[in-house]
């Protein structure tokens, strides 16, 4: 599968503005979250997507509203790119009743039924079997739609990864597996945890077509994702894309990054997705500095509005504690 020889996507001014804007929205959102976390407005664990924006943004371009998305605990970017409003995501980070999960989930459990966004999962590899099931339901019901499942390269060590790929290939399920290879599973570099570090070969051992993509290039990501999604829609069975990317921040907030060199981080920052795309847009004249400044202002406002919304939103009353453990209608039994 050769991503560069695919059908062309139209890099119109409009399309490029969208790509840049969503990446910048994610970047600004994540940076603001880091600040709010330091101020203890956001609690628990916080896993930032900074540096990896191109992957979520590019892949979402290949999906329709009917498709399903399953993601990980580092999913704020995926949620925003999928179409969840910054308001509800920020309110969820705060734990407020207006959050996407009414404050019940927090950073790692963003869900949205309307967008077919199935979270948010704190167990590495935990979402893959569920994604298999969503695709199975579509196949058994004769619906043509894609289940797109994001996970990190660390998941390749988990049994559930292997079980899921096997089932997807065995049953020829309409799935798009997106492996976000950022080189580190928390503090463990890939070469120290995998005997086979070529992610595509893992997929191929299950006879799933796989390709590796420069995850820092949003256009390359979009092209590859569209091609792979089309193959899925054509009934060719599951497809696997490895996105080579890098997170510029620590695994989570409380991580002194003892496991990697600062120089390495700086090198990747030079090739950062927003930086590169921006430079390309300016050099080709697709966008001007003023356009970009306008995007930045718009994005900053959107994020600030989201913060204000979260700040002013109410908490769920404690009396509602036992809500939504099971479905209400049958919640009449004792004990």
């Amino acid at each position: 599968m050769n991503p560069s020889a695919s059908k062309k996507i139209h890099l119109t001014r409009e399309h490029c503005t969208k790509l840049l804007r969503v990446m910048k929205l994610i970047r600004r959102f994540e940076e603001r979250c880091a600040e709010l976390y330091g101020e203890q407005k956001i609690r628990g664990f916080l896993h930032l997507y900074i540096g990896e924006e191109a992957v979520a943004v590019g892949v979402m371009e290949a999906l329709t509203p009917e498709d399903a998305v399953v993601a990980t605990y580092r999913e704020h970017g995926h949620a925003l790119a999928r179409g969840l409003h910054a308001h509800e995501v920020m309110a969820e980070m705060y734990g407020k009743a207006t959050g996407s999960s009414r404050g019940r989930g927090g950073s790692m459990h963003i869900f949205n039924a309307e967008q077919r966004f199935y979270g948010g999962n704190a167990i590495v590899g935990g979402g893959l079997p569920m994604a298999v099931g969503l695709a199975l339901a579509d196949k058994m019901s004769g619906r043509v739609r894609v289940t797109c499942c994001f996970f990190g390269e660390g998941a390749a060590a988990e049994g559930e990864f292997h079980e899921s790929l096997n089932l997807a290939a065995l049953w020829k399920l309409p799935m798009l597996f997106i492996c976000e290879n950022n080189g580190y599973a928390m503090g463990t570099a890939l070469v120290r945890s995998e005997s086979e570090i070529d992610m595509c070969r893992h997929a191929q051992s299950y006879r799933i077509p796989a390709a590796s993509v420069d995850g820092m290039d949003v256009v390359a990501v979009e092209v590859a994702a569209r091609q792979a999604a089309q193959a899925v829609r054509n009934g060719e069975g599951p497809q696997f894309l490895e996105m080579r990317t890098y997170r510029f921040r620590a695994h989570s907030m409380f991580d002194p990054e003892l496991y990697r060199d600062k120089a390495e981080v700086e090198k990747w920052k030079e090739r950062g997705p927003i930086k590169r795309f921006r430079e390309w847009l300016l050099s080709t004249g697709t966008l001007h500095e003023t356009d970009i400044a306008a995007i930045e202002t718009s994005v900053a406002d959107e994020v600030e509005n989201a913060v204000q919304f979260a700040e002013n939103s109410p908490w769920e009353p404690e009396a509602d504690l036992l809500r939504d453990v099971v479905t209400p209608a049958l919640q009449g039994a004792t004990s």
Partner: protein, 374 residues
Amino acid sequence: MTAFRMPSLGADMDEGTLTEWLKQPGDNLKRGDIIAVVETQKGAIEIEVFHDGVLETIHVKTGTRVPVGQVLATIRTAKEPESIQAVVPQPAPKPPVIIPEAPGLKVTPAARIRARERGVDIQSISPGQDGIIGLKELEGLSQPAQSRSGHGINLDEMRKAIAAAMARSKREIPHYYVGSIIDMTAMVEWLATENARRAVADRILAAVPIIKACALGLKQVPELNGHFLNDHLMRIAEVKLGIGIAMRGGGLIAPALSIPDTLSLAQTMQQLSDLVARVRGGRLRSSELTNATATLSNLGDGSADMVLPVIYPPQVAIIGVGQIEDRPWVVNGALAVRKLATFTVAGDHRANDGRSAARFLRYLAEIFQKPETL
């Protein structure tokens, strides 16, 4: 001016040590600049500023351990952000603490209730071979008879129960007796002075300081305060002193008065009055009948000089007090007339002995010389 505070970097981070400032006062700051290095349990973490501005003042020296939220520096920003008040949810009210009753006989809950329903004194029931009073042991008891007093307590049943208890006591408990004559002059005179200052309704009966003194004495000699069950003494921390009270229509009953150290004489008087009123009115609670830890049998004025009482099982002691009378006594080597009373202690020799009783009486003798300390 904005305060730059020690950020929380993790769910389990409470504090960090500032190890290095990477910017100095006067430096321009851009959003994202690393301003300092903080050492945490996990290692050194760089902390950044989130707004453009100029570093004004550093408030914390390197090497200082700082809790999360404390101000580290002041930054002069171009645009002052508004302070936002967060709404803190109200904590839920704490549930009330339930203090368990002191242990008594091994009576099953079902048996207690049935005994109360039948008007039976549970202490009058013999436990089974395993030491338990259960529904089985209550089988064959008659339905409650018409009470003579017409109130809650059935006198006939009560007398039967007392008889049974006393018989059992003499059968099972190896009684010993120790007695002392105590000079009560100081106590009587002090009480008279106290009562002179009070309204008639608030006056304290002579029995009250005696009750209080006994309670304090039992705290001093704990092997006199408890229940003997299953072949051993179970000491009880609280003093619940059974007070012998005569009932109308005859009969003597000894419901318990709970006497913590902090209870004043006035409060003790009040509780005693209330108890007597309820005995006369037949409104006792069953727990008051069953959980005394020791008993005081105070015959009072115009009765006898000395009493040798019988212990109420499963208690292990009972204190007897004769009347307070003017008698000849030796004071400072010469004869004098003093107000004397004979105090006796009957003890269960399985749980305590003459030395315990003697210690108790000596304590009483001493404290009655300093009645103001009661």
